[in-house]
Amino acid sequence: MTTFQEQDAAAVTKTSAAGPGRSPALEFASAWDYAPAPETTKVEIADSHGHYIGGTFVGAAKGGTLDTLNPANEQKLSTFARGTVADIDAAVNAAREAQPKWAALPAKERGKYLFRIARRLQERAREFAILETMDNGKPIKESRDVDIPLVAAHFFYHAGWCDKLKYAFGGAEPTPVGVCGQIIPWNFPLLMAAWKLAPALACGNTCVLKPAETTPLTALRLGEIFDEIGLPPGVVNIVTGDGEAGSALVEHAGVDKVAFTGSTEVGKKIARAVAGTGKKLTLELGGKSPNIIFDDASIDQAVEGIVSGIYFNQGHVCCAGSRLFVQEGVADEVIAKLKIRLQSLRVGDPLDKNTDVGAINSRPQLETIAKYFDIARDEGLDVFESSCELPSIGYWCKPSFFTGVQASHTVAREEIFGPVLAVLTFRTPEEAITRANNSPYGLAAGVWTDKGSKIFEIAGQLKAGIVWLNTYNRFDPASPFGGYKESGFGREGGMQGLRGYVKLGGDR
């Protein structure tokens, strides 16, 4: 394998040779490096956490406890209750009891609770950001600038819907579904809680939320905010734990609606469990989203789009742009520039304000990612890894990409959920569309071209619920999110996101 420098020179120098005596590469050693800039605010974390049921924090019934670690240093952060059928039962009962009163509140008053939640989240934003980074491993700049502001915005947006629901469903009178069982993943722990809770509450439902077993802390702290703002007991209940609590929630007869974000594999199990029960279901599942770069794109910005598409949040993003399709004429340039860009990605301490890529959330996830590296090597793929140094403890993966990938390669088909990109090339728009759509998933897609008519043609043809044109990984509470095909059904956010939390005529 040639060195990085040789490859770049060959790739980028298309028309003329390097200047006399110079190799046209760029060095990003450390002539002037950033000193450590850790977030120093101290966040208190209790030694142990119970479920939040009926407005109070309660201990585990008999499921024992689990530990949650900081994936950046493998240190235990806290212990939390491992929910059982009995805990879920208590939580669902609390939600059932609270639901009629919550739904009967004047809609504006219901809205005020949500506004209060949004405000308190803004006021405690730094604390939540730090806690999220510690529990999840994501860089503080993301939890601070993306996750937590979006959480507050999500409650704020939905607060305003409470008294306007009838306008969202012209001609049909929406009524609450009832009790919602909501199971969320570990990649955006608090944001996913907000995506689930805010629309459910706005529509007059009550909730039982089951956070992921590696990231329970911010959701539990959200329970503190519910207390602070006087949310009626039982309106939101939080039961922590593993798959046992999740299954119990899905199967509980007192649950009217199940909402799940996570893997397609688990989503299918839930769909089977819910079939015939009369429960409503929305699922936001996996993806293998294409990011398509045409030769007339703004290349430097497209490279930024690749970076935010796959390296944002360590690639732990269901809509990550994990399949890159580059038009052949610019493939060399894009790859060379991506290599250069990878050198300036700072990987390490998630609490350092200059960290771009944090820790992988858990050891099992790190092992999953490692497995795909092995498969790719076995399948004969070339890998390019950032030259960064990784910390000696904690769970880490260098930002990487595979080149020479064909549609049949495993890394082009399966969701890896890590900072790992498969690079493919194409020649014509039709080829790009066909290959991009050749996946059971259909969550998101990116398209980069400067030609307006072409971009709308491609956007129209792609089977994906979110299409980012000349941008990637943008999120907003007003913008519906959710997939086509096996990426799930139902939307979260926006007017369309309300649909999963109301009954209209004809719905059960």
Binding site: G170, V274, G276, I455, G465, N470, G494, L504
Partner: protein
């Protein structure tokens, strides 16, 4: 002189705009109130279903990309043609003797009107179900509904025509293609409708009609991975569960209408059955972002 023997019709399937016989070679007798056989229909097999799905898959992209005005016109043309077969269809509705002549005519008229309603929706529902989203930041962001793909329709036994039309019209008006399983107790109106569809400018394969037994076919509707959604009404709890479990196969969008015990009354309710929210289960919201700058 001996009495003339009537020519008993054996209705065939309607797949890809053609009228093939069932691959199974089996048929089902349809009898009138007195028990005399008045017609034979095909007892479709899973292979017929497979063929129908293939035809639907082939036809769907073109139908979806046809402009909405054209789709609306074709649905209206269907209504016109149906109206022209008013007596024949009314007779088909009442052929088994379960529906009186007046009720059959009323059902016939309601079916025509339902098609007219969805003919009108074709170029309007995106304006109801789609929207512009005021996101923070320099981005233009909008959501549009797009058809889900190939949708399986499992029709109720009664109303045999209105049930079918009510389930099919909202699904195809948005650009989906349909593979439907007709009423098991009276599939004749579906078979007559096929003759309308064959001549009304609807591209072959957009609507495919199977007759047969739910016990044999529901399972395959549920598990066929190229069927992206299922719309049903009047099915047993067991079939409902089977269909909903299909979501576990390929994330099928499954909508089983719950219209209460009186299906005929339920289907006759225009405000519920002609709402855009009947179209909504089989469209996918696509949300598009683009930066705004010069």
């Amino acid at each position: 002189m001996s009495e003339r023997l009537s020519v008993l019709k054996t209705y065939k399937l309607f797949i890809g705009g053609k009228f093939p016989r069932t691959e199974s070679g089996r048929s089902i007798k349809v009898a009138d109130a007195s028990g005399s056989v008045v017609a034979h229909t095909c007892r479709s097999s899973r292979k017929d279903l497979r063929n129908a799905v293939e035809a639907a898959e082939k036809a769907q992209p073109g139908w979806a990309s046809a402009n909405a005005y054209l789709r609306g016109q074709i649905l209206y043309r269907m209504a016109e043609m149906l109206e022209g077969k008013r007596d024949e269809l009314a007779a088909a509705i009442s052929i088994t003797g379960k529906v009186g002549k007046d009720a059959a005519l009323a059902e016939m008229d309601a079916s025509v009107d339902r098609l007219v309603a969805f003919a009108g929706w074709a170029d309007k529902y995106p304006q109801i179900l789609g929207c512009h989203n005021p996101v923070t930041g320099p981005y233009y962001n909008f959501s549009v509904p797009e058809p889900t793909g190939v949708v399986g329709v499992v029709c109720p036994d009664e109303p045999s025509l209105l049930g079918l039309v009510s389930l099919v019209a909202p699904v195809i008006c948005s650009g989906n293609a349909v593979v439907l399983l007709a009423s098991e107790t009276n599939p004749i109106p579906a078979c007559v409708l096929a003759e309308v569809l064959a001549t009304c400018d609807l591209p072959g394969g957009v609507v495919n009609i199977l007759t047969g037994l739910r016990d044999e076919l529901v399972e395959h509707f549920a598990t066929h991975r190229a069927i992206a959604g299922v719309f049903a009404a009047g099915v047993s709890d067991e079939h409902r569960t089977a269909l909903e479990a299909g979501a576990a196969e390929n994330m099928k969008r499954v909508q089983v209408l719950d219209l209460g015990p009186d299906l005929a009354a339920g289907f006759a309710d225009d405000s519920a059955m002609e709402s855009p929210w009947v179209i909504e289960p089989f469209v996918e919201t696509k949300t598009i972002w683009h930066p705004v700058s010069s």
